[in-house]
Symmetry: C2
Subunit: 755 residues, 2 copies
Amino acid sequence: MVEPVGNHYVVARPVYSENLFNEEHEKLHRYHKTFWDHLKRYFSCSPQKAKKIVLHLFPVISWLPAYRFREWILSDISSGINTGLVAVLQGLAFALLVNVPPGYGLYAAFFPILVYFIFGTSRHISVGPFPVLSLMVGGAVVRLVPDESAGNSTSTNTSAIDAERVMVAASVTFLSGIFQLLLGIFRFGFIVIYLSQPLISGFTTAAAIHVLVSQLKFMFQLNVPGFNKPFGIIYTLESVFSQITKTNIADLVTSLVVLVVVFIVKEINERYKAKLPAPIPIELLVTVLAALISYFVKFEEKFNVAVIGKLQEGFQAPVAPDIGVFQKCVVDSISIAIVGFAVAFSVAKVYSVKHDYPIDGNQELIAFGLGNIVGGSFKGFASSTALSRSGVQESTGGKTQIAGIISAIIVLIVILAIGFLLAPLQKSVLASLALGNLKGMLMQFKEIVILWKKDKCDCVIWVVTFLAAVFLGLDIGLATAVAFQLLTVVIRSQIPSCTVLANVGRSNIYRNRKDFTDIYEPEGVKIFKCSSPIFFANIEFFRQKLITAVGFNPQRILRKRNKALRKIRKMLKKGELQVTPKGMICVVNHTQESDEELDNNSIEELDQPTNMTDLPIQINWGADLPLGITVPRVDIHSIILDFSSVSFLDFSAMRVLQKTLKEFVRIDIDVYITGAPEGFLDKLERSAFFDEEIKTSMLFLTIHDAVLHILMKKDVASSPKLKLSEEKGSGKDYVVIPTNGLRSREHTIPTETKF
Amino acid sequence: MVEPVGNHYVVARPVYSENLFNEEHEKLHRYHKTFWDHLKRYFSCSPQKAKKIVLHLFPVISWLPAYRFREWILSDISSGINTGLVAVLQGLAFALLVNVPPGYGLYAAFFPILVYFIFGTSRHISVGPFPVLSLMVGGAVVRLVPDESAGNSTSTNTSAIDAERVMVAASVTFLSGIFQLLLGIFRFGFIVIYLSQPLISGFTTAAAIHVLVSQLKFMFQLNVPGFNKPFGIIYTLESVFSQITKTNIADLVTSLVVLVVVFIVKEINERYKAKLPAPIPIELLVTVLAALISYFVKFEEKFNVAVIGKLQEGFQAPVAPDIGVFQKCVVDSISIAIVGFAVAFSVAKVYSVKHDYPIDGNQELIAFGLGNIVGGSFKGFASSTALSRSGVQESTGGKTQIAGIISAIIVLIVILAIGFLLAPLQKSVLASLALGNLKGMLMQFKEIVILWKKDKCDCVIWVVTFLAAVFLGLDIGLATAVAFQLLTVVIRSQIPSCTVLANVGRSNIYRNRKDFTDIYEPEGVKIFKCSSPIFFANIEFFRQKLITAVGFNPQRILRKRNKALRKIRKMLKKGELQVTPKGMICVVNHTQESDEELDNNSIEELDQPTNMTDLPIQINWGADLPLGITVPRVDIHSIILDFSSVSFLDFSAMRVLQKTLKEFVRIDIDVYITGAPEGFLDKLERSAFFDEEIKTSMLFLTIHDAVLHILMKKDVASSPKLKLSEEKGSGKDYVVIPTNGLRSREHTIPTETKF
């Protein structure tokens, strides 16, 4: 029967209730896997599976053999050199935020890259120190190893304090690495699915703001302490601007010149991408030039600018972390682990979307965890990815982590050999180079406008994330943003748009009756659609909307009817009412009794179904009742609940729904549920939803099936002579209605309805 | 046309795409209220509105005139006396938990009731001290006014310390009252919708456990300090059992006797409810008896039992709270405000469900807030409702808050006159009376089994709530439980059950193809249904499921095709391929070239639509390709996405969906979206979802419309002679298929399909 007939939709089949349909169409018994089956499968073992696990654990095995050497190596080398240089510069700068000697920053920029090369899944991020993470480690360091008491600055044992601080930083890093590794092993990388596009965008923009503010002190060369707490950014700015008069003009000028040059050259690189053989390595040029000028003009002596100074050379032997520090820094380590991962993953996701390759949250956690464990052992500090440096790596043409390895080699060269050349470089130059790469992240502000137009809710998430991350700090800000986002999901699921439907176009199409002119509502039938899951938080709302839609509260009607019945019973007993073939007649002018006596019954009794078996006559609630008894008229006889968009129903909701349906059934209104999702009937049966009042026969396949069933039922009821068999399997010959003039606009609505 | 035809579903109408349907059926333009309209309406003013607000703010105006005096007054008085007595006993007992002299507990049991009478919406709860809340206030009190340093217990100024403690308790109470009032005024009572049935049940059961444990020290008469912190219950039990040898046997025996007697008599009351004229006021009898026995037998002297002792008589003048305490107790006050409200509301909700009347969260907040403000001013401490006392009030027949007023009068009498009579009463008797009323709450453990059968998820919520509230304390436990519950909603919405549908029974019914034997899947068509909202957290999952369902990754196919095209172009140029009318022929035995050279193109290019305009022949991807070129075959031509259960789609999801659909369109697969919810098309258009590749014409009303459209399209394509006009308004006469033999089981599946 599924054949095109011109351009027409022609269907003729029995009216299906859920029960009838299931009788006629054999249902397969399917075995649904239980939790244990999944667990068993997860822990099963096979050679294929082992291979897959190994490949998964060491992504380098997959991508390195597929490396397009001729095509990519040049870009990777160019990118690696640029990135390596920035990594060196940032390593030095961020070490200052950690409150350890600059040289240790180079270790943080070296070891994690090697580990990430083997274990990482992103091809474009540059692993290494990240300012906000450095600030966080610095917070723990200053807390555990404070400066000598401010008064006597005798600088007795600065080197001892430094050594202690390096040890604390390394231990915190090691511990956060362990947390990341554990999260990765236990596959908690799924937390990243809660990082939506607007959230990541808002968060990275906020991170860019943090980097910008953290670099200000180097641009102005001011002495600003680290504030690792909510609203820290305000304290930092306050500290900067309260000292603004102490600005070193030479540093400021250098910064601005470098910033402008870098910005312009990067713009040129972008615009003439096609024409240039390779992007101009501006970071490299600026650094070399700045170091040379500073050295020969003797900036340090003449203008008292801050320079990097002598670096620690070579490597130090790995050390075991300090267990004592572990105990004091559990909370710091957890937030460092999560923020580090969140930042790295959000940046990695940006590039993975841009270049379209998959990244894996769990594997990233393992990679960063191992990277931090190794880095911490070699006295480095916590690494993630700096937004600016990853920007350099990607924009200068980095294709794979080969660029990362090249950058590590550059760092290695600086550590081992040419570190002394950087000694005269101004710190303000480092700061400007870092800032020059933030443009892309800061341009994300434009997204606010785009998001506002497309989805207000997503826009609010962006703004909340941004504000929370800027003002509360990246750790608390991220938690706030994720919580807020989850709440928006709950609220969105929770506000059901309940609508009353009507037939549009006289066929099997039902739409919101407010939207169309040409609608047909079968008399006495309300079709009510709820388009959201129904659960504890919105079931009362659903009930209220349903009561509003039908126009009366079924419980109130039921109680009024039961009260009326009791009154009638009493009047019959007293002889005030007499039953005639035409109905009840009030023979005595009924004295207005006080209601109180009548109400002498428990509320529970009033909620029982109306029982008229003891009365000599059935009472028609639609007709006029004897004098002194009023019961509100009910002008509908059937309600159809369209559940096709109700993706789940929880137990709280089911209880209230059952109660509500029962109330309707008890005032003689037929309730039908249509379009119930797969497995809905089973779930309701398991929950003892059905009983002698609420029956499974109320479930119909579609709204139209239910409407046809209702029309037919009323038809039969109103003309008992025309008895159509309602049983299945009876009518094999279908009366087909003349089909011309079917189009709704061409023909008028039948004015007389059948009941 | 909507008329019953026997018991048959007969429909004949045009195949409707969303566009065609909207053209044929005029849509009304509706004005949707904006946020500002709602705001304006909210702040509008009218006499009706003012009256409504007043009635709402003072519920007593509504219910007091409707009080059924004759009917209810006796039960209310009986209940009030019982409750009042328990309130006196509990007030005394809980004052000890707050670490203030017992008399102040009577104030806490008196003032809030008066306020609640006017402002409260629950008819059955007994307002007054609550043990856990008392413990929380006590925690703040002990923190701010610690005992004299443990060593020198010279008891120099015990009364001064007591006065200070009373002041702290009063101030904390006042501040939490302010928080409750503010929450109520700003209508934050909506937080109660997050208290689902299982959550409330688990929480109140946990509260009962807390009460039970807190009373143990009185039953054994041990000296147990208050532990107001996570796992406090364990510390309390540890403290109790480590001292168990110091138990006062007289107290223990008294407690057990009282407990057994109360339990049995309550059981009798319950079982012979109908036969007894009124429930036996067992609490009253036991208290009087115990006090008399204790007095005459001189328990205190003989067995050293703990008795209440002399009470403070009369009232104290109201005082202003201590602002200094406010600053130190902000956090305590907030948690007291929320826990107090949560407990009271959850108990009130239990009774409102049982007796079926509405309660209002915001109004309850206002009532408790004012109650605590007044109570705090008169040196009382934080009040809420004790589960046990509300149980007494309701089970002894309390109908309205008149019972509350009566109980307040009892408390008043004790305060003013007969307090001295209670002096010889044992504290252990108080404890046993409180425990005797916990039975109902503890019986809720049975719900675990019921919930497990009905809804595993709700059962887990119950257990998590219970464990969190027991072990973490009621405040943190409640927060944990609510957060956990929200997460379950997100997770439930997030796991979409994606299914592949097929036609069942050859009419317009589409069901999961795995569930039925008798199914028909149109060749080359996949019907994919997602039954949950699609948003950031599950869009990748959706994409993955879709790719699994169709059996291939469209992006991969597209890239392979583009690579193949490039190869063909190159071979044509070299003359290795020649075009004949039959297709392309490979004239040169193609040397296996390395792929690398061919791959010298950016990934972006490979994702563009296949462009064959420059080729002399159209390539049929389904047919065999020239030697050396392989592209995976695609065996479907159309995908139908059924979105009838997708209640919302966020912006992140829209972007991924758009990208995915584009990939399908670019490999020549037609994608159709059916059953889209109201307003879906508008939203997509606003989000720039549609372009020259993804068109609005892809939206169809139902799956069947889309299937018919596809079948017809393929029909026309395969037999170009038979040109059916597809335009609207053409075919007015419908070919009606012979309708006998429609039933699916009776006729076989047509073996030859038309394309």
